[in-house]
């Protein structure tokens, strides 16, 4: 149960998003946090791990398996994970419940009855029992993100990938969503998240990778990295963001 990347590089036209990133995360890590300034490569790294995009060069391996090349194999890779985005990305024409049911039925080939029961169970657990029939447009940002989280975990993914899950939320909703993520962690869910919530990263993550300008500046045990960062840039970043 590990994540390894070697010389990972991703370029969009002339913009280099990720350059020569090698990371080694051992079996013992349950929560991996990606931190660093905006535009530093966190989202790109997450998308490459999740098989949403292919690297220009370098390799990714998760739990001993190497990220495949072909679209079919990548699809299988993606199915095993759960993904959550900053902007929720729910399907606006479907109800909250249907957003969770649809992938279970169509992708994971679970019967509709079973999927409905599963979706209701997880949505109720997330405090959305009264909102099953509402469309995303009728829900608050926090509620939408909780539906999106329900959708991401309903098929019991091996890894839950969270891309700045609370960046678009106000403080109260942030807390709601972070509480849920923490609850999932306590139940043994393995998580990789990119975040600007340093307090949460420090408390919940076992391992932290600091990315800036598309490069990995530092990685290591969360407590160690937050208390005694090795590089000046990481130190200065943490001082700035932890100041308030």
């Amino acid at each position: 149960m590990s994540i390894e990347t070697h010389g990972l590089r991703k370029q969009y036209d002339s913009t280099v998003a990720l350059s020569d990133v090698s990371v080694s995360v051992g079996d013992d890590v349950q929560v991996l946090a990606l931190i660093g300034p905006s535009g530093g490569g966190k989202s790109t790294f997450l998308r490459l791990i999740g098989g949403l995009e292919r690297p220009c060069s370098g390799s990714v391996s998760v739990d001993g398996k190497t990220l495949p090349d072909g679209e079919r194999a990548l699809l299988e890779w993606r199915k095993r994970n759960g993904f959550l985005f900053q902007a929720f990305n729910l399907f606006p024409h479907l109800t909250a419940e249907e957003n969770v049911i649809l992938p279970l039925v169509e992708v994971h080939e679970i019967s509709r009855e079973e999927a409905t029961a599963g979706a209701r169970e997880v949505l109720s657990r997330f405090g959305l029992g009264d909102h099953l029939a509402k469309q995303p447009g009728q829900l608050s940002g926090g509620q939408q993100q909780r539906v999106a989280l329900a959708r991401a975990i309903a098929h019991r993914p091996r890894w839950l990938l969270l891309d700045e899950p609370t960046s678009a939320l106000d403080p109260e909703m942030k807390a709601e969503v972070l509480d849920l993520i923490d609850e999932l962690r306590q139940n043994g869910q393995r998580i990789i998240l990119s975040t600007h919530e340093m307090g949460f990263a420090r408390r919940a993550a076992d391992h932290v990778v600091f990315l800036s300008g598309g490069r990995k500046l530092e990685e290591g045990n969360a407590e160690r990295l937050f208390t005694s960062p090795e590089t000046a840039e990481v130190r200065s970043f943490l001082q700035k963001v932890m100041k308030w």
Partner: protein, 244 residues
């Protein structure tokens, strides 16, 4: 200024309407002149209804094919569809009907005015519809695609469950307009002597010289065909509506 413009527009529109209304009611109608030709109107109206109904289905099929051609990952269908759409949209329908019936149809040994007329109308409306469909599909934000990929949907599933249901709502008003145009455009088929509604009215006029009486039924006849389309479209818009 705005108020003045409003009053001005109302006065112009109001007086134009009054004038037309006065012309229409002050005319001394000789309905008895056209009474013997009642059957012509009825058969013409049915022919127009039949042509429109078949061409409406045909235009949706052709429009959908052209849209998939234009969105295809391969260049041959893209270029072919694009060329077809540009030629159809860039030339008058009247010319297409004449060339289609007098040049193309004889070359392949096809001698059905009705059939050729329906096919040309289908192609004409299909070309416009394909642009409406393409616009609708391309207006679905890329985040929806990303989300669908993350869930593990194939491209086909993404179109079926995510993109097309949302695009339908967006293309309905413009498509309804195109369908209404299709019905009205069918009146041009008189040039190849298809005995549709307008052709019949022209013949009645030629036989009776009762111009008003011959042409007035056209207004009602076409309106009862186009108005339901407007109503159905609004009904569907509501059915497919969702909050953004």
């Amino acid at each position: 200024m705005k108020a003045f413009l409003g009053v001005f527009v109302s006065v112009v529109l109001g007086s134009t309407f009054c004038f037309v209304f006065w012309v229409v009611i002050s005319h001394e109608y000789q309905w008895s002149d056209i009474a013997p030709y009642k059957g012509n109107f009825v058969s013409g109206w049915w022919t127009t209804l039949l042509i429109s109904a078949i061409a409406l289905v045909g235009s949706i099929v052709i429009g959908a094919l052209l849209t998939s051609g234009q969105l295809s990952p391969w260049s041959a269908p893209r270029v072919l569809s694009r060329t077809f759409v540009e030629i159809i949209r860039g030339t008058p329908l009247l010319t297409q009907i004449l060339i289609g019936y007098y040049l193309v149809a004889p070359a392949i040994g096809w001698d059905s005015r009705f059939g050729v007329g329906v096919l040309i109308l289908s192609c004409f409306a299909g070309a416009y519809l394909s642009e409406i469909f393409r616009g609708g599909i391309e207006s679905i934000p890329s985040t929806q695609w990303l989300s669908a990929r993350a869930i593990g949907f194939t491209d086909a599933q993404t179109y079926r469950f995510v993109v097309i249901p949302q695009a339908i709502r967006r293309v309905l008003p413009a498509s309804a307009g195109q369908f209404a145009n299709l019905i009205k455009d069918s009146s041009l088929l008189f040039v190849i002597s298809v005995h549709e509604f307008t052709m019949q009215a022209r013949e009645v006029n030629a036989n009776t010289y009762a111009t008003f009486e011959a042409y007035l039924p056209l207004i009602f006849g076409y309106f009862v065909l186009t108005f339901p389309i407007s109503l159905i479209s609004r009904h569907l818009e509501k059915r497919f509506s969702y909050e953004h």
